[in-house]
């Protein structure tokens, strides 16, 4: 017991020595981490650079030169916009995308409110059903949905893609509910004492506090519709209704498409997403991190 200060000292020395040796290896370790990260980053970034450079090549150069174009064919872009119904497909895509955003925000905020801010019997059991549908592959319901929409006369119209968002999306409901639950109950109770109805609380208390998560839902709904392929493929059986994704695929499936023009359309279609990402980055990252962590 008397020599405990000394013992303490030696043990501190041991710890310090151990930490000291990690400090020496730390510089080496950091360097290794940097090298690996840079190599991986290159592998992730090169396909992007290739897409841009490919969109500026001539058709023949595309087959022979994987690097930077010798001559920049900017006319690929103007040709792509004029020879390909780019603006019609863009208009269709924007319409479907906006309807998905509007429908999802309205329906999912209401539904998530019902699953989080009101206590009712059986609520959590019903919510398990929402989680189950979240994991249900689209292909499971695709065929009967097609038949249902056919009976309703909706095939060959935008309706299958623009009406369904108004009935909720399980993933968005889940995200919103997680956020709504974290808002203190006292806020609702205070409003209730003032005689506010549930809808008033939803509208005046919860929605204003939920702007960040609603932003995340808007972004995810945008991404889902903007790049959706199978939905338009199954339901839009009419050339004049095609979205950009479906239109591009139809053009590339004919023999000998003019690849550089398609790549130019590809760049034009990816660019808006990148811009939105850079402007609203924190909502993307938050939303994705939230989906995996807070279960």
């Amino acid at each position: 017991m008397e020599n405990s200060p000394a013992l303490e000292k030696t043990s501190i020395n041991v710890v310090q020595r151990k930490l000291g040796s990690t400090k020496k290896t730390r510089r080496y370790q950091t360097a290794v981490v940097y090298v690996i990260l840079i190599l991986f980053s290159l592998a992730f970034i090169i396909p992007f650079l290739w897409l841009v450079s490919g969109s500026l090549k001539s058709s023949s150069e595309l087959f022979t030169n994987p690097g930077i174009p010798k001559v920049f064919h900017w006319q690929n872009y103007t040709q792509a916009f004029s020879e390909f119904p780019f603006f019609l497909y863009l208009k269709n895509t924007l319409f479907i995308t906006s309807m998905n955003i509007i429908g999802s925000v309205i329906s999912c905020t209401l539904i998530a409110y019902g699953f989080s801010r009101i206590e009712w019997k059986g609520r959590d059991a019903v919510f398990v059903l929402v989680l189950v549908t979240m994991l249900l592959p689209f292909q499971v319901t695709m065929i009967p949905l097609f038949m249902l929409f056919q009976k309703l006369g909706w095939i060959g119209t935008f309706l299958p893609l623009t009406v369904t968002p108004f009935f909720g999306n399980p993933f968005f409901i889940f995200l919103l509910r997680q956020f709504f639950i974290s808002i203190p109950k006292e806020l609702s109770e205070a409003a209730k004492l003032d005689g506010a109805s549930e809808f008033r609380i939803y509208w005046n208390v919860i929605l204003p506090l939920s702007k960040p998560v609603i932003m995340t839902v808007i972004i995810f709904a945008f991404l889902a519709s903007w790049g959706d392929f199978i939905g338009p493929l199954v339901f839009l059986n009419d050339n004049s209704l095609y979205t950009l994704s479906l239109g591009i695929q139809q053009i590339m499936s004919v023999n000998d498409p003019r690849w550089p023009l398609l790549l130019a359309v590809g760049v034009s279609m990816t660019l808006p997403v990148l811009i939105i990402f850079f402007v609203l980055q924190k909502y993307f990252i938050q939303g994705i991190a939230l989906s995996g962590i807070k279960e």
Binding site: K18, L19, Q29, V33, Y34, I36, L37, S41, I45, I46, P47, F48, W50, L51, G54, L62, N65, P66, L110, G114, I118, W120, L129, V130, T133, L135, L136, P137, V140, M142, I143, P144, L145, F146, M147, T164, F167, G168, I173, E198, Y202, G227, F229, I230, L233, V234, S245, I248, W259, L263, G266, M269, T270, V273, Q281, I285, I288, A289, G292, E295
Partner: protein, 292 residues
């Protein structure tokens, strides 16, 4: 009592859009496809009831169905495993305390997920082009003759795995968020006990990351079973059926061969597979003391 009843009514009112959607766009389709799966139906003439014929044919006579299922399982067991290891590896590196510019790297790894599927597919047709693609040109620098990728029955699936890794930024972000949630004090304690980086990884990082891994693996498996656009656009299931994946074959039966009944039986088998996966998820998350 009155308040309880009012809450119930209000609750149901708020979730009513979901209830309607669930009944009309999920439950009804599920039940009607169960019926169609017992019929021969070409979407034009009336369906003919054939009992379990479609299921028997699928499971015992249709080689392409078995191939589609095994291709898909290959993508789960080989593809998803490789993707999981790679994404955890990248996330661990990104979480390394002593590097600057972590948010820059994070953006780089996330960017590919923003490319629309169709563009992604066109891009990779060219990146993996056997003669002049970027990958084979790069391999050529070292005197290696690159494989035929999408045109080779052996290499087409690995090509799709490469694509999947390139598009796995979402998983990386989720793992990174999970790693950031692990308390530093755990690592400090381990370091003082003399644990090296590998021991720390296997005894702290991996166990603490379990719930996140579980989430990513489950959504990953469902994602593999749903994957359709890439194979539809790039290979149409070829060469030699090597990329006939479950969803692609289902779509082809329904909309290219007009075998709606047959495809509905496939949809129901898929539903059973999905339910088994979800059941396993709930069991596992309970076992790990984790409330799903």
């Amino acid at each position: 009592m009155l308040a309880k009843r009012r809450n119930l009514l209000n609750g149901l009112l708020f979730i009513s859009p979901w209830v309607i959607g669930f009944l009309v766009f999920t439950t009804y389709p599920l039940l009607s496809s169960l019926y169609y799966s017992l019929t021969e139906y070409n979407a034009i003439s009336e369906p003919i009831f054939v009992g379990l014929q479609n299921y028997k044919e699928l499971l015992f006579q249709d080689d392409l169905f078995i191939k589609g299922l095994s291709n898909t399982l290959y993508m789960v067991f080989v593809g998803l495993t490789i993707t999981t290891v790679t994404t955890i590896f990248i996330a661990v590196l990104l979480n390394y305390k002593h590097i600057k510019g972590m948010s820059f790297f994070r953006v780089i790894f996330f960017l590919p997920t923003l490319v629309p599927l169709v563009i992604l597919s066109i891009l990779w047709i060219w990146i993996l082009q056997p003669d002049s693609g970027v990958v084979n040109s790069f391999l050529g620098l070292f005197g290696i003759e690159g494989p035929g990728w999408f045109s080779s029955p052996t290499w087409a699936k690995p090509a799709f795995i490469l694509m999947a890794i390139w598009g796995s930024g979402g998983m990386i972000i989720i793992y990174l968020a999970g790693l950031q949630g692990i308390s530093d004090s755990l690592y400090e304690a381990a370091r003082i006990d003399g644990a090296n980086s590998f021991q720390q990884f296997f005894h702290i990082t991996l166990p603490m990351l379990k719930p996140v891994i579980l989430y990513n693996v489950i959504t990953g498996i469902i994602g593999v079973f749903q994957a359709f656009a890439e194979a539809f656009i790039i290979t149409q299931g070829g060469p030699d059926g090597s990329t006939t994946f479950y969803s692609l074959y289902l779509y082809q039966n329904a909309f290219q061969y007009s075998k709606m009944g047959y495809a509905s039986a496939m949809a129901w088998i898929l539903l059973v597979i999905a339910l088994i996966i979800m059941f396993a998820l709930f069991k596992l998350s309970k076992k790990w003391g984790y409330n799903g």
